[in-house]
Symmetry: C2
Subunit: 281 residues, 2 copies
């Protein structure tokens, strides 16, 4: 059946209810649109699980700080609709900002210690904004499973934490980062890079590969590895963080292990770049 | 059928599911225990609506500040169980604090502008703590209706706001304050008053009646009425607030109307006293 489109909450509720009455499980893929193969892999994961798959496309104003890129965040709803259909999505929901943040709306969700590092430290509005809108969406869609990309690993972890803390009957599924052939992590924001910045932007992936290489050769000292990698960092990119952290607690580690993740955040001429991965993966 | 008891979340889920499968609506009355006729009126309201009525008894540590009365808050679970049954409750749930705040639990709910006045101003942990635990309970019990006393009117308003903001399919019902024959508002904390403080504590109700009287005689100026009433306040009670506010926005009003509510908060020898009511009601 062809992918359908809706922007109205009551229409969405009706469609989802019909599917639930037919004993379909509901899979949910919340996105900010300008879809790429990473988003499509989430839709495919949901489809392959047999779910009726709802994809939301919503550039959430509340998760951007005043000097961040809400205005310039790329948008193309027609193309998003087509890519959802191509990946096997069943329903594309374009929420109306006035429904999601109705007049008088003011209650918010705040993460805890998991949000105090990485992107949460440099973008204080980001994770509270994400949790608040995701909780609203979860309560509207009532999915059985929800899919998030591991490229934004901290976001995935705090959402999984929220679902557990709030006793939500939703399985939060993390899916591997999808990369270009050369390893560059897919991101909607990549379109804002100029062609001659593409190679510099690949630094994050190169650093991850270098970390894996040195770990493979026996390096176990996080501070020493951080120092070696930082020395390789090009001055043209503003480094926000380069950390080695436990994948569950997001606490920094001093002794590296195979499941330790390296986390990288940077800005290149105003474009936000993040990447991460396990030291063995 | 006799009232049942449980403390285990999975047991609660099973019992509630059985009732839902029988097409019973679920009514929920969250309490901090040490029940009185005010709580019983909430249970009765739920029973009279035909609900299967779940009553939780949980002194929530997270809504008390470090110098507040968590330790001395009165507790008597055997008596609570009996009073629930007498009022027509079906299930009394004594949540285990280690289930509700499981290890690593850290996600919280925060209210907005509605919480910046009244008790929210003098007890900053109170309303975030209430919203967080009520959201957890709502997601566990999944009630159709939830009942709250209007004695804590601000709490009722912020919970109703949360349910709307988070698209929760739960009707939040406010029930009138239950009073002693002399007008004193029922509260679990009243047991901590010494006999000779009882008359002083009645000041809050007397002030509400005086406000109604003066409004009835034509007073419409909030500032003037506040001044008259404050002059009557006995020095033995620490006044926290005496405000006239809109019942929906909780904003202060300058011109009094019949639905304007007077709100009073005070401490008497460390015992928290609050009361409120509409100027015509």
């Amino acid at each position: 059946m062809a992918v359908r489109l809706c922007s109205n909450v009551s229409e969405l509720l009706e469609i989802v209810k019909q599917q639930r009455d037919r004993n379909r499980t509901i899979g949910f893929v919340p996105t900010m649109g300008f879809l790429h193969k990473g988003h499509q892999s989430l839709i495919e994961a949901s489809r392959n699980h047999g779910n009726f798959t709802v994809v939301s496309v919503f550039v959430n104003p509340n998760q951007f700080g005043p000097n961040e890129d809400f205005e310039t965040y790329p948008r193309d709803s027609e193309r998003d609709f087509e890519l959802c259909g191509a990946a096997g999505g069943d329903l594309v929901w374009f929420p109306d900002v006035n429904d999601i943040y109705q007049e008088g709306s003011e209650t918010a969700v705040v993460p805890g210690a998991l949000s105090e590092c990485l992107c949460g430290a440099s973008r204080p509005r980001f994770l509270p904004g994400v949790l608040t809108v995701v909780l609203k969406f979860f309560n509207i869609v009532c999915p059985d499973l929800a899919y998030f990309g591991e490229k934004d690993f901290q976001q995935f972890v705090v959402i999984r934490r929220m679902a557990a803390d709030f006793f939500m009957d939703i399985k939060v599924v993390g899916c591997p980062t999808v990369r270009e052939p050369d390893g560059f992590a897919m991101s909607s924001r990549n379109v804002r890079l100029k062609p001659d910045q593409r190679d510099l932007a690949l630094t994050l992936y190169r650093i991850i590969m270098k970390a894996r290489d040195m770990f493979g050769k026996g390096e176990r000292d996080a501070a020493a590895l951080k120092e070696s990698l930082t020395a390789l960092w090009p001055s043209e990119i503003d480094l926000d963080y380069l950390d080695f952290r436990n994948p569950v607690s997001l606490q920094q580690v001093s002794v590296l292990a195979p499941d330790t993740r390296i986390f990288l955040g940077a800005w290149l001429d105003g474009v936000r770049l993040i990447d991460n991965g396990p030291l063995v993966g």
